[in-house]
C-alpha cells in the first residue's frame, strides 16, 4: 500500500513536470524583446523562489535546534534533520538558478556573468550554504548541530539582501516580475499558466525530495544512537 502510494506520488510529480515542460516550451509564446531565450525563465524563477523556501525551512529548523537543544534534545535532533535536508535541497535549487541564469544571459546580454548586486548576492547565498554543509562534515555530534545552526542564522541574513537586491539597486539583472513595479507582470495569460505549472511541479518535487532526505537522515540518526548506546553498554 505504501509502495503504491509512493509510486503514485512519483508518477504524479513526473506528469506535472512533463505538463509544465510542455506549457513552458510549446504553449507559452516567445517574449517580445528576448525571443526564445525567455523560456528559460519558467525554470530559473521558480527555482529561485523555491530555494528561498528551502533555505527558510533550514533557518526555522536551525532556530528550533538552538531553542530545543537543552530542553528537548530528541526534538532538536529531529529539527536538525530538517535543517540539513533544507540546506541540501536548497543548494541544489540554488545551483539550478546559477546555471540557468548564465544560459539566459549569454544570448540576451551577450555575456555569461556580471558582478551586479543580484548575481553576486545569489552566489554568496550559494557559497554560504555550501560552507554550512562543509561545517557539518568538519565537526560531529550535538556540538556540530549547534555550530551549524548558528551558521544557518548568518546564511538567513543574506536572504533578504538577495531578495531586495534588484529592488534597491538598479541591477543588470531584470527587475522583479512579482512584487515589483505596478507595470511588471506577465503580458500573456499563457505565460502565467506555464509559470504556475512549473513552480507547482518543482515545489512538489523539491518537497518530496526533502521529505525523503529527512526520512533517511532520521534513520541514520537512529542507527547512530543505537550504535552509541551499544558501545556504552557493551561488556
Amino acid at each position: 500500500m505504501k509502495k503504491l502510494a509512493l509510486a503514485a506520488l512519483a508518477l504524479g510529480i513526473v506528469a506535472m513536470m512533463v505538463w509544465g515542460f510542455y506549457q513552458a516550451i510549446y504553449v507559452a509564446p516567445d517574449d517580445a524583446a528576448q525571443g526564445a531565450a525567455f523560456h528559460i525563465f519558467y525554470y530559473h524563477v521558480p527555482h529561485g523562489m523555491l530555494c528561498y523556501l528551502f533555505f527558510t525551512i533550514n533557518f526555522v529548523a536551525s532556530v528550533l535546534v538552538l531553542a530545543w537543544k537543552k530542553s528537548n534534545p530528541a526534538r532538536a535532533l529531529a529539527a536538525d534533520a530538517w535543517a540539513l535536508s533544507g540546506a541540501e535541497v536548497g543548494v541544489v535549487f540554488c545551483t539550478v538558478v546559477l546555471i540557468t541564469g548564465p544560459l539566459w544571459a549569454r544570448p540576451v546580454w551577450g555575456i555569461w556573468w556580471t558582478w551586479d548586486a543580484r548575481l553576486t548576492s545569489t552566489l554568496v547565498l550559494w557559497l554560504i550554504y555550501v560552507s554550512y554543509l562543509l561545517v557539518r562534515k568538519f565537526a560531529s555530534g550535538t556540538e556540530m548541530q549547534t555550530l551549524a545552526a548558528v551558521l544557518a542564522v548568518f546564511g538567513a541574513a543574506d536572504m533578504p539582501i538577495n531578495y531586495l537586491a534588484n529592488r534597491i539597486w538598479r541591477t543588470q539583472h531584470p527587475s522583479p516580475v512579482f512584487g515589483g513595479d505596478p507595470d511588471a507582470g506577465f503580458k500573456d495569460p499563457r505565460m502565467l499558466h506555464a509559470f504556475g505549472w512549473n513552480i507547482l511541479a518543482w515545489a512538489v518535487w523539491g518537497l518530496a525530495i526533502l521529505a525523503f532526505r529527512v526520512y533517511i537522515q532520521r534513520r541514520q540518526q537512529s542507527i547512530e544512537t543505537a550504535e552509541a548506546n551499544a558501545a556504552l553498554f557493551a561488556d
Partner: protein, 233 residues
C-alpha cells in the same frame, strides 16, 4: 543566585577582558608582528604579480589592500582563540559570570585595534609601492577602512571561535568567513576604488551605507549567538 550588587556591570566586564587581551598581546606581540609581515608580503606579491602602473594601480589598490588585510587577519584570528584553548583557559573564561557577549566584544575590540595598527603601518608603504595619489575625497577612507575592518574582525572573531571547536580548526575559518564577508568586501573595495579614482560613481555614498548596515546586522547576530557557540558541547 549571585548577589546583584556583587556582579560588576557589563562595561567593566568588557574592559577587564579587553585589558587581559591587550596585556597578552603587549607581552608577546605575536599577532601584530605576524600580521604585519604577512600583509606586507601579500602587498609585495601582488605588486609583482600585477606590475601596477599609475593608472591601473588606483583601480586595483583598494582590492589589494582589503585582501591583504583579510589574509593577514585570518591567520591572527585563529590564534586569538587557539591560545585560550591551551591550559583550558577558555573553560575557565566560560565559568566567569561575564557571559559570552562581553568576552566576544572585548576580543573584537582587541583584534580591531591590532588590525588597525597593522593598517596604519601598512597604509603609507602601500601608497609608496603603488604610487598612489587619490583623486576623490580622501577623508572618506577614514570611514570606509574602519567600517570594513570592523566587519572583518567581528565576523572573523565569531567564526574563529566557531571553527576552533571543529576537527580541522585552521582550515575551517576561511571557508566560512570568506562567503559571509563577501558582501562587506565588495562594498569596501567599491568605496575605496571610488575614493582613489574619484570617478564619482557612488555619489550618494550607497556602498558606505551598505557597509554600515552590514556591520550593525552582523555584529548584532554575533553578540546574540556567541554564548551559544562558546557553550556548544
Amino acid at each position: 543566585m549571585p548577589n546583584p550588587s556583587m556582579t560588576p556591570n557589563w562595561t567593566s566586564l568588557v574592559l577587564a577582558h579587553l585589558r587581559k587581551d591587550l596585556q597578552i598581546e603587549w607581552r608577546s606581540r605575536d599577532a601584530i608582528n605576524s600580521m604585519l609581515f604577512f600583509a606586507l608580503l601579500v602587498v609585495v606579491l601582488f605588486s609583482m604579480a600585477f606590475d601596477p602602473t599609475r593608472a591601473t594601480s588606483r583601480e586595483i589598490a583598494g582590492g589589494v589592500l582589503c585582501v591583504a588585510t583579510l589574509f593577514a587577519s585570518v591567520s591572527a584570528l585563529n590564534q586569538a582563540w587557539a591560545r585560550e584553548i591551551r591550559h583550558q583557559v577558555l573553560d575557565a573564561l566560560r565559568m566567569t559570570p561575564s557571559g559570552g557577549a562581553a568576552m566576544f566584544l572585548a576580543k573584537v575590540l582587541a583584534n580591531f585595534l591590532f588590525v588597525g595598527i597593522v593598517q596604519l603601518v601598512l597604509g603609507p608603504i602601500f601608497f609608496i609601492f603603488y604610487n598612489l595619489h587619490p583623486l576623490g575625497d580622501t577623508w572618506q577612507l577614514a570611514i570606509v577602512i574602519p567600517l570594513g575592518t570592523w566587519a572583518l574582525v567581528s565576523n572573523g572573531t565569531f567564526f574563529a571561535a566557531l571553527s576552533i571547536r571543529s576537527r580541522n580548526r585552521e582550515m575551517l575559518l576561511p571557508l566560512i568567513l570568506f562567503p559571509i564577508f563577501l558582501p562587506a568586501l565588495l562594498a569596501m573595495v567599491l568605496s575605496v576604488k571610488t575614493i582613489l579614482t574619484g570617478d564619482g560613481s557612488d555619489p550618494s555614498l550607497l556602498w558606505i551605507k551598505v557597509l554600515a548596515g552590514y556591520d550593525i546586522i552582523f555584529t548584532t547576530i554575533s553578540l546574540l549567538l556567541f554564548s551559544t557557540v562558546i557553550e556548544a558541547e
